[in-house]
Amino acid sequence: MIAGDEDPNCEVRTRQLRILEAMLFASSEPLSAADLADAVGQGAALPRLLEELQRQYASRGVNLVRRGDRWAFRTADDLAFILRREESESRPLSRAALETLSIIAYHQPATRAEIEDVRGVATGKGTLDILMEAGWIRMRGRRRSPGRPVTYGTTDAFLDHFGLENLADLPGLEDLKGSGLLSSNIPASLQIPLPLTAVQQREEDPLDPDDDGQDKE
């Protein structure tokens, strides 16, 4: 069943593939290359092995997918209608939460002020909390700007949930970039004093380990 027989180290390779297969199958969470490397041995050409495994499973009912820097087996997209289950979430995300999530996804790293600037309305702290609790966003760092506001970004779990290989897969990302709608640097001529402006500097510092994201009063 295993392809790649042309390889002289076929037996070793087959075994490495089986180990990867078993590990990825056993876990419900995506595994990082580091997690996998430990099991197959440091010398193994992990990227090529994963590629091979991905190829072997491409036509099957279960596919090997990449989620950020992690890998996981997921059921094939085209079987969605057969496997579809009722949404287990007791309450779906509010429009505010969904909008905030997509603003963070497309603009990351984004501060709360920037999110509010896009939405034109104050963001309840609860909205960010819900998204963090869902594991889809996280605090990334602090913007190098007055007040050093916390910046938010999406997580690998976000990629996993929405079936994205990486952030470049965000639907319509290229179009949005092309139209300048994601540009944070609004031309100076368009700066308006009222009603809502935001400091749009991109620089950020990574979050300190002991920084809980609370702003100093």
Binding site: S27, S88, R119, G120, H161, G172, L190
Partner: protein
């Protein structure tokens, strides 16, 4: 500039009156309301007349403002800004003016509307994807990885030798048997002194009585200490007298004469 176009289709009055009754709280802020107003008439936000939009907004907000005092400040700030924008759009720019032109402000508003719209579309596209746990699934029976914690014991060579030395030294302490020293008890010393002094009433140096016992170096201090202590006791009991002529001089003892005899 599309912003100054005057061909904004006027909504029918009846419909407009209805809209006016809508609680502004139903909108997520003034930008949401503006976007909603814009989208009622144009799909392409870049073709929206900002001037007309501003007028609509101001009209819209007037109703609740009069009927309900608690219209959110956000809406009123936006209304004030749109009134300002309107005036900038209607009055030609003065060259010396430092303020941004009406067109620039209008373009900025269009940009923000388009950006908010884009994010709404993005959110919809995101949620219409096949989602994990809804259409796509992870392994349903994950096989748990059991983690066995294996201690790696740390011990240095020095620690080892230190431990051994410590143990051996402790062993010595366990074998310790105190050296048996001949110690004169006070009782013995007292009996001896009484016996030696006897009935002698002559002053005699105490060392002279003990001379034969003081020859053994190990015993000397014990003999001295015990006999001295005992002699004090005998003095207290009125059995002997003691005297010392000078500091560190020899001690003399004699039997005390019974005053009654």
């Amino acid at each position: 500039m599309t912003a100054t176009e005057q061909d904004w289709p006027k909504p029918q009055a009846a419909e407009h009156e209805e809209v006016l009754l809508v609680d502004v709280g139903g909108y997520e802020g003034p930008l949401d309301l503006l976007l909603d107003l814009a989208r009622r008439h144009k799909v392409d936000l870049s073709a929206v007349s900002v001037l007309a939009l501003a007028e609509q907004y101001l009209k819209f907000i007037e109703g609740p403002r009069h009927s309900r005092i608690e219209v959110a400040a956000d809406y009123l700030v936006m209304a004030a800004w749109l009134a300002y924008l309107k005036s900038r759009l209607m009055v030609p720019d003065a060259q010396s003016d430092d303020e941004p032109s009406g067109e620039a402000l209008a373009a900025m508003l269009q940009f923000r509307l388009a950006r908010l719209e884009a994010m709404r579309v993005a959110a919809r596209r995101l949620t219409s994807r096949l989602r994990l746990g809804v259409e796509v699934f992870a392994r349903g029976m994950p096989e748990e990885v059991s983690v066995a914690r294996r201690p790696i014991w740390e011990a240095g060579y020095y620690d080892l030798l230190k431990a051994y030395s410590g143990v051996r030294e402790r062993g010595i302490a366990l074998d310790y048997t105190p050296r048996v020293r001949s110690v004169w008890s006070l009782q013995d010393a007292r009996e001896l002194l009484e016996r030696l002094i006897g009935e002698s009433v002559e002053w005699t140096a105490i060392d002279a009585y003990l001379v034969q016992y003081l020859t053994i170096p190990e015993d000397r201090s014990s003999v001295r200490a015990s006999t001295f202590a005992s002699s004090l006791e005998l003095v207290r009991q009125g059995k002997i007298d003691m005297r010392q002529a000078e500091t560190f001089g020899p001690l003399f003892v004699r039997r005390r004469r019974d005053p009654s005899t």
